[in-house]
Symmetry: C2
Subunit: 196 residues, 2 copies
């Protein structure tokens, strides 16, 4: 069913100008014109680089979590590792790099679980979710300035339960777990019962 | 395992000042002090009201979706209905209201599926996910200014597949589906096989 005969129109972007710049994003104002109404409106956008979040699975089926103080929440937040993708860097390379720098865990291979728009209403960037299997703690930490991170490994089923019960609250972590659940069910069914 | 003996410290917030104001959020600069290093740093925050996103299930097990032009993405985005919670409004009331205003679908009851932080790193608000069962198209639309929405109803399993395959890309919609999947599996097992 559709609510109108023609459907919503594609607005035309006329211009975009920077309003403010921060360390991790720019606030811009974009002028758009509606194609039929011809009206012009300004919409505020948060423009930032693409992000990567990593589901790192240890050989004993635990997920690598990081606990850190988060300024938006003004509190600690338990999350999967993640960060900003460098220019010309692939999501898979960025995933392995951020995992190593933030947690010291190293994995040989990475695969893409899925990609989302953090918020298509006003954020311009994408966030990629990367699965790293057989991750082991073997590298030195390389935290960014202001990073101070507690690293934990938690059994997969416990992590899923922590997301469902509100212990893990970051929406991008929850979204990553949505993508991880289906391959995880397949992995579980291929492993010996005593190992899951 | 833990990466340090004492764990990460809780930063102390000294002040916060508005940098820019937009229709849907304020950009602020918050000065925080690290309790041990005594260093002060400014962190940029996006301060906005809490949001609600609604999983509205029709009597024939379809989810109500909205397709609209999104300025952050500069493209159309297929999502579940959602919006901003009014002051003093409960998430459940806001969910029923936004569903009715955006899609014309009305449900008798609403229940909370889960709550997330859209981005604890720099966003201060929460997003609540609300389940509305037995939703039927029975109210007039009441779109906000600039809203122009195509309403569709899509079978639940197709919606889940659309999220997994990247047709639905909004991270908050994907997170809502994470919370919805477990009650959905229980609902399915309680319904007659031919009705799912």
């Amino acid at each position: 069913m559709s609510s109108s005969a023609h459907g919503p129109d594609r607005w035309e972007k006329l211009s975009e100008a920077k309003v403010a710049s921060t360390r991790i994003f720019d606030l811009t104002g974009a002028i758009y014109r509606h194609p039929r109404r011809k009206s012009e409106r300004e919409f505020s956008l948060i423009r930032s680089r693409d992000w990567v979040n990593i589901v790192a699975l240890t050989p004993d089926n635990k997920i690598v979590l990081v606990n850190q103080f988060r300024f938006g929440l003004d509190d600690f937040s338990l999350e999967i590792p993640g960060g900003i993708i460098d220019e010309h860097e692939s999501p898979l390379h960025a995933g392995l790099r951020e995992l190593r720098e933030e947690t010291g865990f190293v994995g040989a291979t990475a695969q893409l679980l899925g990609t989302v728009s953090p918020n298509p209403a006003f954020q311009t960037n994408r966030c990629h979710f990367v699965l790293v299997e057989n991750a082991t703690a073997s590298a030195d930490l390389a935290w960014d300035e202001d990073e101070e991170i507690e690293v934990r490994t938690v059994p997969v089923e416990d992590v899923l339960a922590m997301a469902r019960s509100g212990v893990i609250t970051h929406s991008l972590v929850v979204a990553a777990l949505f993508f991880f659940e289906e391959p995880w069910r397949k992995m579980k069914s291929q492993k010996a019962p005593q190992s899951v």
